[in-house]
Structure formats: structure tokens, C-alpha cells
């Protein structure tokens, strides 16, 4: 309406608005030019001569253009609307209080950073239940922890403290912060933006730690590629995660890692950059070249605890990968509380024999940074390299898998080595044989060995504490981590009485919200009351210590009597003829399933089923758990993470 008239009463059409809008706007007071000072001088002639520049009224414009005044009013108002940009005043909110507008420092709001579609879809995976979020915040679990924040704090509070130690390390917190800030800018220059997923396949080197922290600094999301991954695993994970870049060495053994990634970057639309630690082949970027670039743009959002931080992959199949998106709330709350429980203090030295590609290794980094302890670098585990690192770097904390200790112990290395610097050793990654802990404990004279149970979906869920009874630490994975609720449940999510075996189910501030783009797997992963089904079999003692006894899906159902084969496998591994073994079911017409033992023998060894059964019986194994078939193999089908793929074992 204009002065009460509608458009058709005024005869104003879209064509008229298009045609006259510009001149009407120009003649109006929307743009004013004054030459000299004619009003103050009462120079009426000059005023008349320049009315069209000073700004005319609608009546005057109507007269000049040949329209009716009401038509001008309508056309002008619509033209003003057409040109009007909203939200302009936002930049004003940054001014004043001593800050003045400077054209060269302003980036128009529409040009400010925005998350791309892939990043937004990853952020959408954090669909937490509101009551849960409220609880974690109110109870003080979720704060605004970020690795960037912790790194800045360490660099400010202990600038000269040692941040990195060991092979290729030796950086202070100030130096590490500086290098990480520069590398983050380098990643930005290479096209990586906050929210982008970047894959990393590196050994436990300074490059790894700096790349990881620089991605955190930038607000990008790291997905880890295990060192054993090759082209097929690359393709699956890089495609599913929509990774924008990959950081890796030029070669890993005889695997042309960088060349493979470059080839995949042609195949996968999302993969745009291949960054190489070392000498890059043509088409790739040298990681070292990214430290010398202009700083990050100021208007980039600083990462927060709620931002996605890791996208890790757990078991799953090629057609249905299980990506676990994790944010800093989840991981760093778990790490912050773990620091106290694992007794990590400022100035301590934290060594991980576990690869940083595994969450267990990253957990050790997170805690070291949180505590202000040094991260001790052991690029690739070998028993001699490990012993050398312990003796030279004098770590106070060790995060390792049982296989690492077993290898050193098997070679008798602990008998000669000085392990006394280790105050706390945390074992995790696979079932920990109690005898291994009992054998090693006396040689770790300076401290204790503890166990930890964790999963990609929740980081550290259970662990024994340094003050626990050594036998508890040898035989169980300990108690719940702070804030984590664990229960032994049946398949319907009912809690079982203490001492009964069932599925270990978990909820808590570190538990993931959903698998990335895999609603079926997500639906199957939680009980109706929100507990994560770990798929691990376990029982809990009266004090809450949990002993793991195998994987639920590996349970053998022999005529309705169910048992986990893990106990049998652990016993068989002690048999002198057996190098590697796995128990898996074979279908049976009468009983439904019977247990078959698949074994790889040691060189020149031989064994029969009867001999194995006699050995197991002597060890006290119940009769119904004895294997009823033996299949000898040259090799076992293995996952990239060195686990036997039982599904592929067929007689």
C-alpha cells in the first residue's frame, strides 16, 4: 500500500519498477551531493541548480521524471528495499571503546568462514540427549577443554618446560606452541578449514604430535590411518570420512604411501591434498614447507570443546564402516580426569609404545598435555628401541599393549634393563594375560603395572589405579573411569548380579553419540536406556573391578551351553607347539555349534587334538570347553590392527 493505494490502483508494474527504480533512487535523498555550502549562504540559485544532487522529494522527482508522486513513493520504497542489505551493523559491534573502523582490516561478513557441507554433516552426528548434556555440564564433567587451550596454557605457565622428548623431540612448550600455530596456518594455506577431516598415517614422531595439535588448533578433525593400512583400507576410510587431506610418509616399508594417496586423490572427489612428512612426490606438499606461511586469518572461529575433534574408525565392514566422531568434551574430560587417576604430574614423562593411530596412544598425548608432562617419542616399537627409550628418557608413565611387554619379556630384556623410572605402566589393547603382569611387575621396580579397558567409542572406560592390590591389577581391567557408569547387562539391557558374566555396557561423558552416517550400527550399539553395548563379555566383582572374558559375538553355543573361547585361547597360547591360535564355532547338526581350534604351529612342531585336550584338561579347563576339532594353518587371516579375523576361519 502506498498512501492507501494498492499497486494496481497506482498502475505500477514490475516493469515500471525495474525501469524507473534506478533514477528515482538516484534523485532521492538516498544519495546526497552538496557542492559548497549553499543553504547556509542562502544561495537559492545554487540550491535550485543542484536539487537533483542534494536529494529531491517524491513530488519533485515525480515532476522531473514524469510520474505521479505516489508512484514515485512506491517505486522508491521498493527500490530501497531491493538494495537494502541487512545485518550490516554487525561490524559496528566490533567498534568503539578505542577500536576504529579500518577498511583494510574488515572482511565483509558474507566472506567470513562458514563450515562446508561435509563438516556440517559431521557436526550433526553429535545428537546428544539434552538431559545428558545438562547433567555433564552441571556435574562439571564437560568444561571448555581443548588441546589448543591446554597447549597455550602450558606455553604460558611453563614456557621452558619440556613438551617433547625422545627421538626427534626435545621441544619446550613455547617452541611446540609456536610450531603448532605455524603449522595450523600452513594447513589453512593448504586449503584445510575448520571442520575438515584430515587423515594421518604417521609413526609416533614429532611430525605426528605437531600435525595432530595443529589440526586441533585449526579446528579440523583428525582421522587416523593405522600404519598397517594399505590401499584398500585407505579407500574405504578416506571415502567414508570425506577426508580433505592426508598426511603420511613418502613410503612405509615397501608401501608407496604417498603415491597411493595421490592416486586416490584422483579417484576420490573429496580428497584434495596429500601432505608428506619427508620428500614429497610430484603433486604432494611437503609437511616441512607448511611452517613458513602467513598467520591464520583472525576471523576464523577458535575451536571449542563441543567441536568435532576426532573421527576414528573401529571394526566394521567395507560396505558399512563404523566411524566414531568424538569431540573435545568427550575425550578431554576423560583425559583430564584420567590424569589424576593415573597419577600424572607436571614434569612427568609419558611414553606410548602404542601407536598414536590408536586412541590409546592419543589418550596418552591428551593426558600429558593436560598435566604439563612431556610426551616421550618412540617412533616405532621394537624391543631394543623401547628399552633404549626407557633407559635414556626415563619415562614415568608407559602406555603399552601386553604384546609389547611380552616381546621384551620373552627376549629377557627386562632382566638387564633399568625400568625403575616407570611409576605407572598402563596396559591395554587386548586381553592382558595375568601371568605376564605377574612376571613383569617385579622388574618394574619403580612402580606398578595397571590395566585399562577402552574402546574407540569411549576412550578409557575402566582402569586399575596405581594404589590397587597388584593381583587386582593383574587379573582385571579395574574400575570405571570417573563419570563413567559401567554395568554387566543382558541383551535386553537388564543389569546382572555381581559375579555373573554378561555384556559390558557403558554410559558416561566420554561415550560417543552416534556412528558417522551409519544409523543401523548406531541403533544396534545402544540399549533402550542409553548404555553403549561394548560387545565385550565381562563380569564385575563386589568392588566394581571388571574382568573381560571375550567378545560376545565370539561366544560358542554348544547345545545351549554358552562360553567365551578367550579363556581357552589364552591357555592354548602357552602350549609349546602353538604359535598362534583361535577358537571358532563350526555348525553341528546335533548341538548347533561345536568349537574348532585353528592353529599355526611353531617351526618343526606338531600336535594332535588329543594332546591339546590333555594339555587343557591338565590346566583345569571344563570338559565342555574342550575343542572338538583341530585345523592347522600356515597363517591366520589378520586385520590391519593385527587381530585374527575369526569370520574368515572355515574348516
Amino acid at each position: 500500500m502506498t498512501q492507501g493505494y494498492s499497486r494496481d490502483q497506482l498502475g505500477v508494474t514490475d516493469a515500471m519498477i525495474d525501469a524507473y527504480g534506478d533514477i528515482v533512487f538516484k534523485l532521492s535523498n538516498n544519495h546526497q551531493i552538496r557542492r559548497g555550502d549553499p543553504v547556509r549562504m542562502k544561495d537559492f540559485a545554487a540550491i535550485e541548480a543542484h536539487r537533483h544532487e542534494l536529494g529531491m522529494s517524491d513530488e519533485q522527482i515525480a515532476e522531473r521524471v514524469g510520474l505521479a508522486p505516489a508512484q514515485v513513493t512506491l517505486i522508491r520504497n521498493l527500490e530501497e528495499r531491493r538494495r537494502f542489505r541487512t545485518g550490516h551493523y554487525h561490524q559496528l559491534n566490533k567498534l568503539g571503546g578505542g577500536k576504529r573502523f579500518r577498511a583494510e582490516r574488515m572482511t565483509p561478513l558474507q566472506d567470513h568462514f562458514r563450515y562446508n557441507e561435509d563438516a556440517l554433516s559431521l557436526r550433526a552426528a553429535f545428537a546428544f540427549d539434552p538431559a545428558t548434556v545438562r547433567g555433564y555440564v552441571e556435574d562439571g564433567y564437560w568444561k571448555n577443554d581443548t588441546l589448543r587451550g591446554w597447549l597455550i596454557r602450558n606455553a604460558e605457565e611453563t614456557p621452558d618446560g619440556r613438551a617433547l622428548a625422545g627421538a626427534g623431540g626435545d621441544l619446550t612448550w613455547r617452541e611446540l606452541r609456536e610450531r603448532v600455530g605455524k603449522l595450523a596456518a600452513g594447513f589453512y594455506k593448504a586449503g584445510i578449514r575448520p571442520g575438515d577431516v584430515v587423515a594421518v598415517q604417521l609413526p609416533n614422531t614429532r611430525d605426528y604430535v605437531e600435525s595432530f595439535l595443529a589440526l586441533c588448533w585449526l579446528g579440523a578433525v583428525m582421522t587416523t590411518l593405522y600404519m598397517t593400512f594399505r590401499e584398500s583400507e585407505f579407500r574405504t576410510q578416506l571415502a567414508h570420512s570425506n577426508a580433505k587431506a592426508v598426511i603420511l610418509p613418502e613410503i612405509i616399508g615397501d608401501f608407496a604411501a604417498a603415491e597411493t594417496a595421490l592416486r586416490l586423490s584422483v579417484e576420490l572427489e573429496t580428497l584434495q591434498r596429500v601432505i608428506v612428512a619427508g620428500t614429497p612426490p610430484a603433486g604432494a606438499i611437503a609437511l616441512a614447507s607448511l611452517y613458513d606461511v602467513p598467520p591464520l586469518p583472525k576471523e576464523l572461529p577458535a575451536p571449542t570443546a563441543a567441536d568435532p575433534f576426532l573421527l576414528l574408525y573401529t571394526s566394521g565392514t567395507t560396505s558399512s564402516p563404523k566411524g566414531v566422531p568424538l569431540n573435545s568434551h568427550q575425550m578431554l574430560t576423560n583425559a583430564r580426569l584420567g590424569v589424576v587417576e593415573h597419577d600424572i604430574r607436571p614434569g612427568d614423562v609419558v611414553l606410548s609404545a602404542a601407536p598414536y593411530g590408536h586412541l590409546f596412544g592419543l589418550y596418552s598425548i591428551e593426558m600429558a598435555i593436560c598435566a604439563g608432562a612431556s610426551i616421550d617419542l618412540l617412533p616405532i616399537f621394537s624391543p631394543p628401541a623401547f628399552i633404549k627409550a626407557v633407559e635414556e628418557d626415563r619415562p614415568t608413565h608407559l602406555f603399552a599393549g601386553p604384546a609389547h611387554l611380552a616381546a621384551c619379556n620373552g627376549m629377557g630384556l627386562f632382566d638387564k634393563a633399568d625400568m625403575s623410572s616407570l611409576r605407572v605402566t598402563v596396559l591395554s589393547g587386548s586381553a592382558v594375560p595375568p601371568d605376564l603382569v605377574r612376571a613383569c611387575a617385579p622388574k618394574f621396580t619403580g612402580g606398578v603395572i595397571t590395566q585399562l579397558w577402552g574402546m574407540t567409542e569411549l576412550q578409557a572406560g575402566l582402569y586399575s589405579r596405581p594404589g590397587d592390590d597388584p593381583e587386582i591389577a593383574a587379573t582385571s581391567a579395574g574400575r570405571n573411569s570417573p563419570g563413567t557408569h559401567v554395568r554387566i547387562g543382558d541383551e535386553n539391557g537388564n543389569e546382572l548380579p555381581r559375579g555373573e558374566e554378561g555384556e559390558l555396557q557403558v554410559r558416561g561423558p566420554s561415550v560417543f553419540a552416534a556412528y558417522y552416517n551409519n544409523p543401523e550400527a548406531t541403533a544396534a550399539a545402544f540399549t533402550a536406556d542409553g548404555y553403549f553395548r561394548s560387545g565385550d563379555l565381562a563380569c564385575m566383582d563386589a568392588n566394581g573391578n571388571v574382568t573381560l572374558s571375550g567378545r560376545l559375538k565370539e561366544v560358542i553355543n554348544r547345545g545351549g551351553v554358552k562360553y567365551s573361547p578367550q579363556e581357552v585361547e589364552l591357555l592354548l597360547e602357552k602350549h609349546p607347539a602353538i604359535a598362534q591360535c583361535a577358537i571358532a564355532p563350526v555348525p553341528d547338526e546335533r548341538l548347533g555349534e561345536r568349537a574348532c581350534c585353528y592353529a599355526v604351529l611353531k617351526p618343526q612342531a606338531s600336535v594332535t587334538l588329543e594332546e591339546l585336550c590333555a594339555f587343557l584338561t591338565e590346566k583345569g579347563l571344563a570338559k565342555h570347553k574342550l575343542p572338538e576339532r583341530l585345523e592347522l594353518r600356515e597363517t591366520m587371516p589378520m586385520t590391519a590392527t593385527r587381530k585374527i579375523i575369526k569370520g574368515q576361519l572355515k574348516p
Binding site: H31, I33, F84, Y89
Partner: protein, 297 residues
Amino acid sequence: MSQNAYDPETAKQEIFAYAKKRGALAVGVADLAAIERIAPPGHRPSDIMPRVKSVISVGVGGQTQGAWTVPAKALGYFGSTETRAYSCVYALAFFMESMYGAPSVYCPPDMDNEAGPRVPLQSLKLHAELAGIGARSLAGDILLHPEFGYMYFASVFTELELPPDEPMADNPCPAPSCTDMYRKIGQTPCMKFCPVQCLSGKIDAEGKQEEMHYDMAACAEMTQQYEAVPAMLARALEAEDATQRTDALFDPDNKMLWYKMSVGSGGLLAQCFECMRVCPIATRSPQADPIRRRNSK
């Protein structure tokens, strides 16, 4: 109502004294014939009051020194001191009727209903300029006064005939320091620091204004959020889905506009003040700076 006998000069002095008592810093009588010539038809004093004989313009003070130092989003809230000018002229109109029996109105300060929100009913600025209490500056013609700096204006139209004043003999804008800056970088402070760069112009060899360019549409985008309300509603109507529609109406920026509409005031309804914040005349002229005034006593 019959007019009382009065001496125009004496009445003028009485009127000025009363206005000052009510808070005016400066008062003047504008040359009605000049206003009628310069203002476009429909926007002349006689369009509102056919028997008008005089237009009295009053100016009240702008910001305190403290206000000029606060962040822009707070400064926006201090822009409403013009209400003091309106209350001053409201009282003045009553005073003149009761003292002299002359019908008087305070000039409606708002926009012309029929033309939309960028066209005022009357130009208070034109009245003040012709009454000699302000001169057009390079900052989009904002009036400045060498003594009082930057003021808010209001007018009284009356049937009382009063001798008009003359416009100011000199224009204080640009200040010498602004000319210096202009000679170096081609911009004065108001031009340089306007966040939408809607000001430009030229200063001649004698340091006087040669040209003033003011992109009022750009200034309005920055400062007049009522324009954003229909834009926001249009965006909500055009939204492709419920999320976009909800965002268009309820995001915090937009809810702020609803808030301002509902409370009827609160910043960014006229100008953003950045040009005035850096203007030496607006902020530092003797009577515009109470702290300086106090210290020089």
C-alpha cells in the same frame, strides 16, 4: 486567541531565556521565507501551520565525554537525547501561547506517513541551519556548532512574528586538523572511520568544504534497523524450509529487532555515531566537553 502586544526583540530574548532554562544550549529564529523556498512542497512549515510567522529552532547537547569512549553497541543506546529537545520545544510552545497569546506548535519530529521512513515531515536540520545554530558538515550534513559541537534539534512553529537570525557566518567543518588529514590521505576522520564508507568529499585550497557526498542508503543499512524488519519477514516467507524460516524470525539478531520494536527504543535507530565519535568539533568543542569546561573554570 488574540495576541498580546509585545516587543519582538524583547519577546525573542524572553523566549531564548526560557528555552535555555529548559535545557537548550542554542536557540535561534529561522528565516521563514528562506525555509519555504528551500524545503520541497509538502515539507514546508506552512504545510503544517498555514498561518505560521516564525520558526524557532533549539539545540540540546549531544553525548557526554564518557559516552564517546564506550563500544559502539553501547553508544547506540545514548542516541535518544533528542527527546530532551522535544520536551524543551513542547514546553516552549505552551510558554509562547500563555505569554503572547500566539498559537504555537512544536514541530512534529517524525517521518512523513505518506512517504515512508526515509522522509521526514519537516527538516529540523534546515530550520536549525537557517536559525544560525549549526552548519552542515562533511559527515553527511550533520550540523555542527563551533561552541556546542554536535546537538539534537527541535523546532517551534508560531504565529508570533519574531525577527529572524542569520545562518552562521562560518562553517566550523572541516576543523584544521581534519584538513591536515585530508591533505595527507584524501579523507577526513569522519570519512575514514565510517564503517560503511558512505562519506566522501573534497576540501578546497582555502580549507573550506567543496563537495560533500553522502550515501544515505548505506548509512541507513548500518543504522536504521527498522528497514531490516520487513526484509526479515520477507526472508521468512521465502524460506525453503521450517529451519530457515525459524532462523529468519528467531535468530538472536532478529529477535533483537523485535525487542527494539516492542520497547520502542534502544540504539541504532538513527545513526551509528562513529563519524561523530572521531569528529573534533562534535567531541571537543568547548561547550561539548563538560570535562574541559570544568577544568578551564
